[in-house]
């Protein structure tokens, strides 16, 4: 089956081709078992996050203390055991899903939104625009994330949104670099010139033709950033910049259990596993999406 041009009869009406493309992507996605597992886990997590308030009463079961039940090893009543203030870790891990998922996802979206836009501009308009954006990017990436966290949280107050902002901004440089590299490789392709020849405005070219073609490295970067965003919350919460205290965010749970690593390691093992599963789910889905979107790999 030679790679030469398709025989005429396949070039049927344009609508049909576009509709089937999405169907093809979904079909490929369904075919990829890993992606399906990832999607299932994520939907489960989203469900748990939304209905956490229904499942548990925040004050008594999540934030309530009973020192008498301190540091109980995992057993029947407390599947994951209890932490140093007597709170049930199993319920906190489930309840914490909303924070970690929220922080991880939102922070990455913030980073992506800013990063992709600047990256695309830098990649497309070479010369001065690129140099300025890339140098500003180098400057921004020099700021350590903890310093960024201190400033944003103290300037705007400690809240979950500010935490997302702090982590989001520190992930902007990576997105800018990844997008620029992808856009650079795509803009030199012939079809971009062909589009220019049709008189299409540059903004439309970038938005509808260049960025979709750069989606695969961006998707990979999104899934990776979600992982490091969730883990970044634990180092930030060490300095008290994380989610305000009683909230059971996985990163801060890891951090609180830090001094119990030898005596009660289950304090950090279960939040760690929760993070591992979430990160894996996002990456399996991201991987599946990347392969489904990449026409070259569709053979």
């Amino acid at each position: 089956m030679s790679k030469k041009n398709e025989t005429p009869e396949l070039l049927v009406s344009r609508k049909y081709v576009r509709q089937s493309q999405i169907r093809i992507i979904l079909h490929n996605l369904r075919k990829n078992k890993g992606a399906m597992i990832g999607l299932a886990i994520i939907t489960l997590l989203v469900l748990v996050s939304c209905f956490a308030d229904v499942l548990f009463d925040y004050d008594t079961e999540i934030a309530g203390l009973n020192i008498s039940e301190k540091l109980i090893r995992p057993c029947k009543e407390h599947l994951f055991g209890t932490d140093d203030l007597g709170r049930d870790i199993f319920k906190r891990v489930l309840y914490g899903a909303r924070y970690s998922l929220g922080v991880g996802f939102a922070a990455t979206m913030i980073g992506m939104a800013i990063g992709v836009v600047f990256g695309a501009i830098a990649g497309y308009y070479c010369g001065l625009a690129e140099d300025i954006i890339m140098r500003l990017n180098d400057i921004l990436s020099a700021v350590p994330s903890i310093l960024m966290g201190i400033v944003i949280v103290s300037a705007l107050g400690a809240s979950t949104f500010n935490l997302m902002l702090a982590i989001g901004i520190t992930s902007v440089p990576q997105f800018v670099r990844i997008t620029r590299a992808a856009v650079l490789s795509v803009r030199n392709q012939e079809y971009v010139e062909a589009l220019k020849a049709t008189g299409m405005s540059e903004a439309r070219i970038i938005a509808f033709h260049i960025i979709p073609n750069c989606m695969s490295p961006i998707i990979v970067q999104i899934t990776l950033r979600i992982a490091s965003a969730i883990i970044a919350t634990s180092s930030l919460s060490f300095l008290g910049l994380g989610v305000p205290v009683p909230a059971p965010e996985w990163g801060s749970m890891l951090n609180l259990g830090r001094s119990y690593v030898r005596t009660a390691s289950y304090l950090t093992i279960f939040p760690g596993i929760a993070i591992l599963i979430t990160v894996l789910a996002f990456n399996l889905l991201g991987d599946g999406l990347r392969d489904a979107l990449d026409p070259k790999l569709r053979k």
């Binding site: 203390l65 140093d84 201190i150 001094s259 005596t263």
Partner: protein, 517 residues
């Protein structure tokens, strides 16, 4: 290079040692003679940043200065009395203004220079201008009017105004004597040259400090040649280093890992009652909190023991008064004075006071701020306990500089802090008199300020103690601060270690430490 030399030395020693044993093979086997290592390694956790005594006053720094330098007068913590240091004897004028010291003449600095009265004068002049950036040291030295060198072994210090406690302060290691020639020769390393039992060898900030024995020390020669202090900030790693035998002493192991130490029979755990008091401070400039009844209600509603168990894994002791139990003039017989002790928790009394306060049935929200991950746990427990009074607590954590800038600007409501208390009664004034950054309760009571001034110059012990008693009674009633607990400090060390002096303040004395092979 230095490590190589000391290695060779050790080898030589070891070899000679074996020969000695070998040679005396014939004779009856000597009494089980214990051999000691040449190096003792100590793992510590609080960062030190200078080897110059006038620049630092923190406990860990003073531990080092105690080894490398000497002061004119020493303070003996057991007997809490003064004993001769570089000065053999001293006399004071009646108005406690002019202090005359007779100095030892057999003391030499590490660089070989002889110790003379001129060095005392130089240290004062050096620290006064840019030799130190430490406010406490500079303020103490500013209290001195003049220092007169009478002859090589006599010096006279004249204060601006009389201070009975001057020697207690002047015995602090931060006022150790420096050598004029050494400092003028090298401003960076010069201040590190002292007269103490050990000499500064290597100093890498936040990594390690190595001290070599001063062979020509005027006092009792230490048994161990080299002391190596390794900065290991993570407690779990520090304990693991001790278990692996890399270090001989592990200062401040995790409270959560005390049973691991107890389970290991090569290690000894020494937990001493701490001198660091953890307390709540209510900013009286906040109208809602400027109400003693509310503060007392909260004081009685808090259960200290639960905080100790929850936040410090049970390592610590309940505190009942905003005054060091080891500080001069401590008074705690509250019943005798018609008052009730804050502990144990007494909900009815708390509700009683709450009823008399501006918030009879609670319903207010208080923002409690802390500056470290450890105290967050305590605040969460207080948060749960105050629910009984229908008071909601919002927990806020800031990093240390942000925290102090907030308290300095009086923008806080309630803060949880821990402070290292000392034996001197006068030192407690900084919490209760205006114009001090430690006075986070912005407490200003003329009577209390007056009483502190009187106690400062009162010669008669009974009268001074009575003044301090009156202060404590007023404070107990107004409760600007609520004392919570003394955090216990712990030390874990291998059973081969002996000769070290452990104490509550954390300023351990390693001058006579030795480690069996």
């Amino acid at each position: 290079m230095k490590k190589l030399i000391s290695l060779l030395l050790v080898l030589a020693l070891a070899v000679s040692f074996c020969f000695a044993n070998g040679a005396s093979e014939g004779k009856a086997a000597p009494v089980a003679q214990v051999e000691y290592k040449d190096t003792a390694v100590i793992g510590f956790q609080t960062k030190t940043s200078s080897i110059s005594p006038p620049t630092q006053t923190s406990v860990m720094h003073r531990l080092f200065f105690n080894l490398t330098h000497d002061t004119l007068v020493d303070y003996d913590e057991e007997t809490s009395s003064l004993k001769p240091g570089l000065a053999k004897s001293w006399t004071v004028s009646d108005d406690f203004k002019v202090w005359t010291f007779v100095l030892r003449d057999d003391v030499y600095f590490h660089n070989g220079e002889k110790f003379t009265a001129d060095d005392v004068l130089f240290t004062w002049e050096f620290a006064k201008d840019d030799g130190s950036t430490n406010a406490t040291v500079k303020t103490t030295y500013n209290k001195i009017e003049a220092i007169k060198v009478i002859d090589d072994t006599t010096v006279e210090i004249t204060l601006k105004n009389g201070d009975i406690d001057f020697l207690y302060t002047y015995s602090n290691e931060s006022y150790s004597v420096l050598n004029r020639e050494a400092v003028t020769a090298d401003a960076a390393k010069g201040p590190g040259i002292g007269t103490g039992p050990y000499m500064n060898d290597e100093f890498v900030v936040s990594d390690h400090t190595t001290l070599q024995r001063n062979e020509k020390y005027w006092g009792e020669l230490p048994p161990t040649k080299t002391l190596e202090f390794r900065f290991i900030s993570d407690a779990t790693t520090r304990l693991a280093a001790l278990e692996a035998g890399e270090i001989d002493v592990c200062q401040g192991p995790n409270n959560t890992e005390h049973n691991i130490i107890r389970a290991n029979d090569d290690l000894i755990l020494y937990v001493c009652p701490g001198m660091n008091l953890t307390f709540l401070a209510f900013n009286s400039e906040v109208p809602a909190l400027n109400d003693p009844n509310l503060r007392l209600a909260i004081a009685y509603a808090i259960n200290d023991q639960e905080i100790i168990d929850g936040a410090a894994s049970g390592v610590g002791s309940v505190s009942d008064g905003m005054w060091g139990f080891f500080t001069y003039g401590y008074y705690d017989d509250w019943a005798g004075a018609g008052l009730a002790s804050y502990q144990p928790q007494n909900i009815e009394k708390a509700k009683e006071y709450l009823a008399k306060s501006n918030y009879p049935n609670g319903g207010l929200t208080i923002r409690m701020t802390c500056n470290s991950a450890w105290t967050v746990g305590a605040l969460q427990i207080i948060q749960a306990q105050l629910k009984a009074l229908n008071i909601t607590v919002e927990v806020q954590q800031l990093d240390s500089a942000g925290f102090t800038s907030m308290t300095k600007a009086k923008e806080h409501e309630v803060v949880i802090q821990s402070a290292a208390l000392t034996g001197a009664g006068g030192d407690m004034a900084k919490f209760f008199t205006a114009g001090n950054t430690a006075n986070t309760a912005t407490y200003n009571n003329e009577k209390v300020t007056e009483l502190f001034k009187l106690a400062g110059v009162e010669k008669d012990e009974a009268k001074r103690k009575d003044y301090y008693k009156q202060i404590q009674l007023i404070i107990h009633e107004e409760a600007p601060y609520i004392p919570l607990y003394y955090a216990g400090t712990g030390v874990a060390y291998s059973k081969k270690v002996s000769g070290a002096v452990w104490n509550g303040s954390g300023k351990f004395d390693y001058s006579q430490v030795k480690v069996e092979k």
